[in-house]
């Protein structure tokens, strides 16, 4: 009887481990969920996949720039979503999504025009989302990766114009 219980527990643990490992890389980013909710006809989506990120690291320009190389290594994907109309409505959608997923995303700040969210995992920023509305235009940028404080410092002081 005892042996059977142990076996059952072991199987349950095995199934749990399998489920966890299968779900381990099955998450969707904030931008993906926003695209699902918003009117797709209004949106222009630009995506840079993890594979393209790897290819970018192979560029000579990046190879010669250690700082950029270090930063890009911390990024896995970029999604830039823009809507040229109904910025207010789309910004409300972003806010609603942020509120609904408040356990997953930490709101770094929110103003009537801008909203910044971060998602932490294992003490690293795995997702950084910025939504801003200006002149009826909404722009949502979603970076995913394993970003540390150095990354945030660099981006914060990255020149507003030019490279």
């Amino acid at each position: 009887m005892m042996k059977q219980t142990i076996i059952k527990c072991a199987i349950a643990l095995c199934l749990f481990a399998c489920t966890v490992s299968l779900n381990a890389q099955n998450e969707r980013d904030f931008a993906y969920h926003f695209i699902e909710k918003a009117d797709k006809n209004e949106l222009v989506v630009k995506t840079i996949s993890p594979q393209m990120m790897e290819r970018m690291l192979g560029l000579q320009e990046i190879q010669e720039n250690d700082t950029l190389q270090t930063l890009l290594r911390q990024l896995k994907s970029i999604r830039v979503v823009s809507a040229k109309q109904h910025a207010g409505k789309n910004f409300d959608t972003v806010e609603e999504l942020a509120k609904r997923n408040h356990k997953r995303y930490t709101c770094k700040y929110i103003t009537p025009q801008k909203l910044m969210l971060t998602r932490m995992r294992h003490k690293k920023i795995v997702e950084l989302v910025l939504a801003s509305q200006e002149n009826e235009r909404l722009l949502l940028i979603d970076l995913t990766g394993n970003m540390n404080e150095d990354f945030i410092d660099f981006i914060t002081h990255y020149p507003a114009s030019g490279n």
Binding site: A10, N26, P50, Q51, L143, I155, H157
Partner: protein
Amino acid sequence: MDYKYIEQLLERYWKAETSLEEENILHAFFSQGQVPEHLAQYKSLFDFQKNRQNLHISENFANRIMQRVENMEEKPVVAKRIPLIVRLRPFLNAAAVVAVVMLVGMAAQHSFNGENTPSWDYNAQSYTDTYDTPEAALDETMNAFRIIGNGLRTAEAIDSLNNVDAETNIENDEANHH
């Protein structure tokens, strides 16, 4: 003593041509104490046969067999129902071993990797590239960095404003106390 007759009988015995009377003569000959040296090798065979002849089944042998047959008929053979858990036991044992190995492996991997464990848990398949070349993708990345940088500077400005507000409130509180 001449043992020619016995030797002839033996030869016919090996060929299975002897009658029962002749075989009895051979048995009687080999059952006596003294057997000539050249025929002594056959004595053990005839002694064995004589001993076997003395073996008989017991008188109630038939009754005992019949009783056993009756007992078997009384208890019809019933198929034994094996529970599912028992039938699956080999598979369960195998699964348990796999589970233990997996758990040990995962624990080992976790302890070896520590903080280097990748935190990124997104489905890479959900990203379809917009750009064909890494150069174009890099331009878009730099553009995203610029916009995010603006956003982060706003965050810093808001933080410092909040800090100034908090300091001002503390100073006002202190002034009111005085």
